[in-house]
């Protein structure tokens, strides 16, 4: 079967019921997308599917069909650059394990809402758990990225 990841069609041989997360990580070797809970509870596995933030642990490769998948490895937009540079600037990552997912969710938010309020940030980022508690800095960094893209 073929799936489109980061603009490229890729042939995958995993069972069709395998969640996208594991096809990305174990078959395609794209390990930037992380496993945290396997049940859509933590957001570490967030990718973009046709532009929408999607938990890759909870969608099978069969379900994707012709959808376009973008992973953290494929992020290269004005928004993603602004987000990643704000992440560095504001000392956001600590252990860093959840941050691929955080960045993917933040980029989705800013793509649809370039000037988010604190409330909009919380609503958009609530599904992304961080055990290091980097939340306050994530908020600050999203605001900073927001000013850079406008």
């Amino acid at each position: 079967m073929e799936i489109n990841v980061n603009g490229k069609n890729m042939t995958v041989t995993s069972d069709g019921n395998t969640p996208l997360l594991w096809v990305l990580r174990d078959e395609l070797g794209m390990v930037g997308t992380k496993y945290g809970c396997g049940k859509g509870l933590c957001g570490a596995c967030t990718v973009h599917l046709d532009g929408e933030p999607t938990r890759s642990c909870s969608i099978t490769v069969n379900d994707i069909q012709k959808g376009k998948v973008v992973t953290i490895e494929g992020m290269n937009t004005k928004v993603s650059q602004a987000v990643q540079s704000a992440w560095v600037n504001n000392h956001v990552p600590q252990c860093g394990y959840c941050q691929s997912g955080q960045v993917m969710s933040a980029c989705s938010l800013l793509a649809s809402t370039p000037k988010p309020s604190d409330k909009q940030i919380c609503d958009a980022m609530s599904g992304n758990i961080c055990r290091c508690g980097t939340y306050a800095r994530i908020k600050t960094a999203i605001h900073e990225a927001s000013t850079k893209i406008s």
Binding site: T18, V31, G36, Q99, V103, I129
Partner: protein, 726 residues
């Protein structure tokens, strides 16, 4: 000099032109003498001087890039940046040219106090403060000498700056150009160290060296390691150590697409080997493995609390006695008793435990976020029948730890190595989130019973404190060192060594066997002792009608660092002048742990029966602050971690089985509940003390004290919210 490492003077050198890590150019390694404290691990008993050490802290490449070999695990606390800062300050190099990599295992990288390679106890900076600066200074002096020799000018005429050695007429040579010549020189025994006023790197918020790769998905964690021919393994294990295997459905597991094989090993473990992690997890679940009942199969959270509560009434080991608390209680005109309950807690770092092993029957290589790599290496070697040096240990980024990876039994390394020995194929052993939550290592359950006595003028007359709790270190190699006369400091720390000046004080401890394996959890005993001390002190304030800040100042009048912290808090909040807005209340707590004093004032409201923490003001005395922004992140992190535990977290036992499974029934703090945090540090040139943990102990009692101001209820049983709230 810092107490922690008074014996870390440089006294020997060892040069290698190319190291194990394949780095070309100059590699300098320093042998450090065995510290004042005796080696506490068998692995550390090898005399350091006898070891061949193909290792180093600094590598300078011909292009002037500088690689720092970091001998602590980067698990979020920022050691790859802060330890590099200590060396860079003295080395006079260009910060932009620095990168940090995790060191392999070698005695040269041992902790300066514990004499084994390890990270923990909030000690990375305090134990490296002299050592790392001296390493940087020695290297700087050698580079200067090499340049002076080449130019044939006196050493006094050359200076080091920004990765170059300079001379007023000869010009400039880069460190990269001088590295090989410098490597042939004698090691300066006592290189001069800078005064704090001249620091350009220490005390500055250098950006984290790992921030970019942790924002673009390129950072490699244990979970991300891939080696040729690797298969994936997920392992069914019992909730409790030693439970005998009853049944499992091998056929059902083998029906899962992608499953390669099912392997029973270690008597009661069953591994499902698969082509990908998902199939391994699905296969493991399909096993529906069951284990036989053991003597704890009727154990429940309730039965354990009952046992612990009873123990607080029995004769136990005296941890501390000041004055005569019994007489004080007898003479008291008012007595007050409080009983506190603290549940088991899982660490639940974002990256569940895993270990990758390549073992071909003759040699082995392992990968993980190793927090105690010397022990992991020794344990792996023992299982595989190899010498420790035949096991190459690769330490990669850890997706959080909070104590979990300082596994006293190297548990997940052990499982992976046993399996590797069985199948002799390259493998990655992964705990699913559910596996990580079950059969793991937990913050022990504890019960505190406190009796206070007041005289007729409402002055505090006596304090009797009984702690019954599960041991953190029973059955481990640490027990012999850390348990003295039946007392385990990791259970009573924060109570028996309280700074409060209490005239008649008595503390006893009972260690009770835990059916679940236990471990240190961010701030260890202080997770519960600070809660009891700080909420009880608040009760004393209410009882004696004293302002909580004033009472603490009175009882801490001989503890200058605590007073400095309280003073900063008063300045930050306007305590005594300002008040919380309507519908909100302030709560205060101050506590010392890991030689650091942290005070916090929180602003709290209750919304739909759920506490909402709006603001936290934190004042910190942690000696020299090496990286101010980094230090703030550690305080913020500790607050988030501790607040989540206070509000939501417990691991329950029911009929001998663990109840919680994943982030839906073991909730953690989310972004909408993260308070605004302001942090200020006491300004001082004293050596750094710990900061990975000390921000945690005050948060829960500060919130509880604020909640009492709102609803008049004391929170004695944690967590605050007993059920699912999301």
């Amino acid at each position: 000099m810092n107490d922690m490492e008074k014996n870390s003077a440089l006294n020997r050198r060892d040069f290698l032109v190319s190291g194990l890590t394949g780095l070309a150019g100059l590699v300098v390694a320093f042998h450090l003498p065995v510290g004042a404290q005796k080696a506490f691990m068998a692995e550390a008993a090898t005399p350091l001087a006898a070891s061949a050490v193909p290792n180093a802290f600094i590598h300078i490449a011909p292009d002037n890039t500088i690689t720092m070999m970091i001998n602590k695990l980067e698990m979020g606390q920022g050691v790859n940046t802060s330890l590099a800062q200590l060396i860079a300050e003295e080395l006079e190099c260009d910060w932009k040219m620095i990168r940090s990599v995790s060191a392999p295992v070698a005695p040269v990288y041992n902790h300066t106090v514990f004499q084994t390679q390890m990270t923990g106890g909030s000690s990375a900076l305090s134990s490296s403060w002299q050592q790392h600066r001296k390493i940087g200074a020695a290297m700087r002096e050698m580079l200067k000498t090499a340049a002076a020799n080449r130019w044939k000018v006196p050493l006094s005429e050359v200076t080091a700056k920004n990765g170059h050695v300079l001379h007023k007429t000869k010009g400039s040579l880069s460190y990269g150009e001088l590295a090989t010549e410098a490597g042939a020189l004698k090691l300066p025994q006592d290189p001069p160290l800078k005064n704090a006023k001249d620091f350009k790197v220490i005390g500055h918020s250098m950006k984290r060296v790992d921030a970019a790769e942790k924002s673009n998905g390129k950072a490699i964690f244990g979970m991300d390691v891939r080696i040729p021919g690797m298969i994936y393994a997920c392992v069914a294990r019992p909730d409790m150590d030693g439970q005998k295997l009853d049944s499992f459905d091998e056929k059902a597991a083998k029906k899962i697409p992608g499953v390669i094989d099912v392997v029973k090993f270690r008597d009661n473990h069953i591994a499902v080997l698969a082509k990908n992690t998902f199939a391994a997890i699905e296969g493991k679940d399909a096993l529906k493995a069951k284990w036989k009942d053991n003597q704890y199969s009727t154990a429940s959270t309730e039965s354990i609390y009952k046992e612990l509560k009873e123990a607080t009434h029995k004769k136990s080991v005296v941890a501390k006695t000041i004055g005569d608390a019994d007489a004080g209680m007898k003479n008291a005109s008012k007595q007050l008793e409080a009983v506190y309950e603290f549940p088991y807690l899982a660490h639940a770092p974002m990256e569940s435990m895993n270990c990758t092993v390549n073992y071909d029957g003759e040699k082995a290589e392992i990968w993980s976020g190793h927090q105690m790599p010397t022990i992991d290496q020794g344990v792996a070697a023992g299982i595989l029948g190899l010498k420790p040096e035949e096991v190459k240990v690769n330490t990669v980024y850890a997706g959080g730890s909070f104590g979990r990876r300082a596994s006293k039994a190297s548990d997940y390394v052990v499982i992976a190595c046993h399996l590797a020995k069985e199948i002799k194929r390259p493998l990655k052993m992964v705990f699913s989130r559910e596996d990580d939550m079950h059969g793991g290592y937990y913050r022990p359950m504890n019960v505190h019973r406190v009796e206070l006595g007041f005289d007729d003028k409402k002055n505090l007359l006596a304090w009797r404190h009984y702690i019954a709790g599960h041991s953190v270190i029973a059955g481990s190699v640490f027990e012999a060192m850390m348990v003295k006369n039946g007392l385990e400091s990791t259970v009573t720390e924060g109570v028996s060594d309280t700074h409060y000046n209490i005239k008649n004080f008595h503390c006893e401890q009972t260690r009770v066997y835990s059916p679940l394996t236990t471990l240190w959890w961010r701030s260890v005993g202080h997770t519960h002792t600070a809660y009891v001390m700080e909420t009880m002190i608040d009760e004393v304030a209410v009882e004696t009608k004293t302002d909580p800040m004033t009472l603490r100042e009175q009882l801490l009048k001989d503890s200058p660092r605590h007073l400095q912290v309280l003073k900063i808090l008063k300045g930050m909040t306007g305590w005594g002048k300002n008040k919380a807005p309507k519908g909100r209340a302030w709560g205060l707590a101050v506590h010392e742990s890991f030689n650091t004093v942290v005070g916090q004032v929180v602003e709290v409201s209750i919304e739909e029966n759920i506490p909402r923490v709006h603001k936290v003001w934190a004042a910190v005395h942690c000696g020299t602050v090496v990286n101010p922004e980094g230090a703030k992140t550690q305080v913020e992190s500790s607050i988030a971690y501790g607040l989540g535990a206070f509000l939501y977290q417990k691991i329950d036992l029911k009929d001998g089985k663990i109840v919680q499974t994943n982030f839906d029934d073991y909730e953690v703090l989310k972004i909408e509940n993260m308070p605004e945090v302001k942090v200020e540090f006491v300004k001082t040139d004293e050596p750094p003390t710990g900061l990975g943990e000390p921000g945690l102990p005050p948060i829960a009692p500060a919130v509880a004290n604020a909640l009492f101001r709102l609803d008049g209820k004391r929170v004695r049983s944690l967590p605050y919210l007993k059920g699912k709230t999301a």
